[in-house]
Symmetry: C2
Subunit: 281 residues, 2 copies
């Protein structure tokens, strides 16, 4: 099958229909572009689950707050297309905002309480924007399966919740975080980091791993381990939005340690907000 | 095709699949049961648009406020089944609330500003409940077309908005209000009316018609015609929540008269809330 790259919904639908008529199973990989090895691993995973992989590239204005980085978020469509094609993507849909949110658009989807905690507490409205655009992209593409990165772990939980709650007929699959050699979770936002910040950034992952180990070993309470971690991160120059242990499925707070759990953090390094998480099982 | 009546989602899906495999076009008529001739007209309309008509019967708790009539809302499943079958419905899906909103359910759909005006102003959360359950039922049944009554005109506009905004692949069709011989719009809630109230109730429709005529003739301003109507209704014993002229498509307020418009009212008669509307073209 040849590569289709389009910002036009009808051309996107024609490509999807061609694939469907050939009886091919469709996987969707929704992205905001500025692709890196993390995204490519999602494509790779998607290829094991389906015959055709479609990717959406859309920097969704509704998931950015008024003082957030929508304007400066990296855009690199030409390079994204090359990378996606090389990774085996057959259909790339990169719509304009006016096509996703035409005049008069007013509907929003909310996952409820899941959306107002952790990152949602610091980014009001963010996850409603995510839930809305993902619902819309899934309903526009109607894939058999859609693949999301565990890097955005709360987002993944919210999308699972919305898809199950609204009876959207798609399997949601999470794929593990891809890291730089020094442990820093790959992110399009890593390009914001100065050389100095880039040197410090991997300490977030180190701290998660060490804290996770302490929690599992149980020599200190979860609360104490987390307090120590926040103290350490702050001393290293991070401003910590949160570092918390949560249930892996429900994201409910966890005082003791009952696996499967997830240790999640959001921190600032200068003007860059980084998130990361690790499973504790 | 034989009649399927089920509260089980899988049995519902099997019936839908049987219909789909025969290449039959599916129409859905979502209802809260307590069927009357208004509902049957929706089925009749649906039959002109599709080969198989499925009906959902579900009194949706999420669209009732804490002080509203959820508990006393009429339920008459046995009779509903007879009426629906006679009208040509082939699949009846009457789920339990626990199946629509299982434990952990938390997602909601909102049409935004459309949902907080007119009835939405007096019934906070009502239309989010409607938008949520209708999205869910449409996505669960995936019909080609769904038919809703113009009696709930704002609801119809909101459903059109949500379906268009979220890219749900279904045609939304409105069907005209069915009235008693004396003009009262049919409603399952009319059974709440005392004999005395039932005698007065048709004056709502009379007043809408007369007010509409005055607005079209243009001898008085829209504002004056509506103020007179509210005065008259109040004198007749109605408590008027609102009586307003709105754009037929966007429901935007209208000072002058620019067709197509809709004259919409919600009133109380004792403990019963009645709504009605007429087109002004």
């Amino acid at each position: 099958m040849q590569l289709t790259v389009t910002k036009d919904m009808e051309a996107f639908h024609r490509a999807l229909l061609t694939s469907a008529k050939e009886g091919r199973r469709l996987a969707l990989v929704p992205t905001m572009g500025a692709l890196h090895a993390g995204h490519l691993s999602l494509v790779e995973h998607a290829r094991t689950l389906a015959d055709t992989v479609a990717m959406t590239i859309f920097v969704n204005p509704k998931q950015f707050g008024p003082n957030e980085d929508f304007a400066k978020y990296p855009r690199a469509l030409e390079n994204d297309i090359k990378m996606a094609e090389k990774a085996g993507v057959e259909i790339i849909y990169a719509p304009d905002a006016e096509d996703i949110y035409p005049e008069g658009y007013s509907t929003s989807v909310s996952a409820g309480p899941l959306s107002t905690q952790l990152c949602g507490k610091f980014r009001p409205g963010h996850f409603d924007g995510v839930a809305t655009v993902v619902s819309k992209l899934l309903l526009r593409a109607m894939p058999h399966v859609a693949v999301f990165g565990e890097k955005d772990y709360q987002q993944l939980c919210i999308i699972r919740r919305v898809v199950e709650d609204l009876d959207i007929a798609v399997d949601i699959v999470g794929a593990p975080i891809i890291r730089e050699a020094d442990g820093l979770a790959m992110s399009s936002r890593n390009t914001y980091l100065s050389a100095g910040e880039r040197g410090v950034a991997p300490r977030l992952y180190d701290t998660l791993v060490n804290t996770g180990r302490e929690i599992i070993m149980g020599n200190v309470t979860t609360k104490a381990a987390i307090a120590d971690a926040i103290k350490l991160l702050t001393a290293l120059g991070f401003k910590v939005d949160y570092l918390e242990l949560r249930d892996s499925d429900t994201l409910e707070p966890m005082d003791g340690f009952e696996p499967p759990a997830r240790l999640l953090a959001a921190v600032w390094l200068g003007k860059t907000r980084l998130i990361d998480n690790i499973p504790l099982e």
